[in-house]
């Protein structure tokens, strides 16, 4: 009995490991290719490189002309962090208001906010661009992070509203009896309890900002302001020659921050998904 269940467990593990390797294959291929000289990347598709070189990393890191890839990563990290803080503060305040406070037209405002989730991004691109252009914000980071400070990410507000609605109101009432006002309830009761939702918001905001290509492409013009997705695209030209080696190398490098954030917050993240009922 013991041996059969053990064999079964081994079988399951083997299957899961193989499946995992299959899923990881593209990433493994990316990492291996980043160490291959460029003429071997597509002509020799095997996973064991015939020649190993670090050239791609040094070439990629030096970036394009005056801007090194370090600048791009720095820009991306800075932008990501500002957006995370912005979303956490603004969206949690908005969510608290929708979830707990009473104000006139509350349902209408909430419905309007939900409508912004459904509005296709493309509809707003040009009016938004005109707006930011008239404000003189093109080629600054303004258009990319200022909206985040004003709770424009309805998705996260919705996520947190749902979470806050699930917290028992008795807590608020007892806090009121103990002398808490509206702000203190937000700060002392709601925020700590909504921690899993906050973590989910933080991770998603960071990864979405890190991966965002289109809006960064639109608003950032000078290469000194470029972020990682734009920097990676600089190596590529679909109509001519692409520097695949350096691009793969820098793709590997750019995976690292996202991986660090994800793994260090993974525990809360899974908790957040479980308790908010939102799947990644």
């Amino acid at each position: 009995m013991n041996t059969t269940s053990r064999a079964q467990a081994m079988g399951t593990h083997l299957f899961v490991i193989l499946l995992g390797l299959l899923m990881l294959y593209p990433i493994i291929w990316l990492v291996v290719s980043s160490f291959k000289p460029s003429y071997l990347i597509f002509s020799d598709l095997s996973i064991w490189p015939k020649e190993v070189t670090l050239d791609n990393y040094t070439k990629g890191w030096s970036g394009v002309s005056k801007s090194s890839f370090g600048t791009f990563i720095g820009n991306s990290i800075m932008l990501g962090l500002i957006c995370v803080v912005g979303n956490l503060v603004s969206c949690s305040m908005a969510a608290y208001a929708f979830g707990r406070l009473n104000f006139s037209w509350k349902k209408v405002w909430f419905a309007l906010m939900m409508v912004t989730i459904m509005l296709p991004h493309h509809v707003t691109v040009i009016p938004q661009y005109v707006l930011f252009f008239k404000m003189g914000w093109v080629d600054t980071f303004g258009p990319l992070f200022v909206p985040k400070l004003l709770a424009t990410e309805a998705f996260f507000i919705f996520l947190m509203v749902q979470f806050i609605r699930g917290l028992p109101c008795d807590l608020d009432e007892s806090a009121t009896i103990d002398g808490c006002g509206t702000i203190q309830i937000y700060w002392r009761i709601i925020l700590p309890l909504a921690f899993p939702a906050l973590i989910t918001t933080a991770i998603f905001t960071f990864i979405w900002t890190w991966d965002d290509f289109f809006s960064q492409l639109l608003y950032l013009n000078s290469p000194d302001h470029y972020t990682v997705p734009l920097g990676l695209r600089l190596f590529m030209d679909s109509s001519g020659e692409s520097n695949w080696g350096p691009m793969f190398a820098m793709s590997v490098v750019s995976l690292i921050p996202a991986l660090i954030i994800f793994f260090s917050l993974q525990r809360y993240f899974v908790e957040g998904i479980a308790t908010t009922g939102i799947k990644g």
Partner: protein
Amino acid sequence: MFKNRMLGASLLVTLMIFLAACGNSSNNSASGSNKGDEAAEKNVELRMMWWGSQARHEATLKVIELFEGKNPNISINAEYLGADGYWDKLNTQIAGGNAPDLIQLGNNYPDYVSRGTLLELDPFMGNVINLSDFDEAIATSGKLNDKQYGINLGSNALGIVYNSELIKKAGMEPPKAGLSWDELEQYSKELVGKLGTGYYAFADQSAFTHYVGHYVRQSGKALFDGTNISFDEADMTSWFDMWKRFREEGIIPPAEKSAAYLEVAPDNSMLVEGKTAMVVMWSNQLKAFQEAMQDELEMIPLPSGGTEKGMWIQPSQFLGVSAKTEHRKEAAAFINFFVNDPEATAILSSDRGIPGSKVVREALKANAEPIVLKTYNYLDAAAEQSREMDQEMPNIAEWDAALKNAAQKIAFGEASAQESAQEALKSAQAAADKAK
């Protein structure tokens, strides 16, 4: 109460930090635009946007620096990116009233002329912009309705690129230049027979719009004659029938493989993997494919046949000026520098295609690296097989998609050649009619 106040204060502080942060950025840009205004009195600031790869970015930036060194009152802000997203960004900027002064365009420039984005350059032709060293056909390629809207930055030609090592391995002579469609077919059968299973003579390019263009031009027709579609169902049917036969003979890969390998870039190409011996591509792609593999590549003209020459020299890129620019003359001066200055053209080399100026071409040929020299020599050979190009079909991207669809239907046995030909013709008509 005290704690409440503390909390309020801390919230206020956080809020202020954010306000300061966003205030900062707006200040920065405000001072930036002020600088621009002051500068406009003495100095001129231009913006130039192009797409390309790293090598092109480096070269173009160097030329901009050189130009700024010679014209200290003009500074050019470079905005460069890969081809992905270029048109989205450009279109948004144009719609937002913030178009760059100097714009790199492809053969789609007539679309931008019809939208009123591009400046008519005729007032500067001959005095600021000098195209006297250009081949006539190349100089006029930037003209639409007899007005100059763009200056050509380089030309390419289609050709057959073959893997000389693979052919040597099969124990065969390389294909000779100027072979006919029939000769190509015979040659390919022999080649596949000698290479064995898993190898193919050439790629399935039945959906390559410009290759179809070459084919219909051989019978004196054109994809688009300037006003109308100028080929018919019979042309398309015989084209598709021919490729169907190639597929049955096993000289091109089966449908599943062809669907996976697009052969438009080295990253998914059976040529690069050494499984296919020949692929039709543009001459400027030769370098990129060669750099992705070790076997030596060579280039010969497209198959001959029919009553007329099918090939043509295709201008690949243009530099245009925004209609809204405040510094027309300076922009025009830069274009002239870009295509004529000996130093600048030496830096740019043939990255954007073979330059239009004869003088520049001779200078570049003298010290070109071997692979680039191959491109130059090929272009000379191609020129002999060429006649005047036709105007590009409007909305060609739409037809391109429809053609792919139609060709795949045949490959997978979903439609007959005739049905697909009808479908392809109909969509070509629709694409061309849209422009009227």
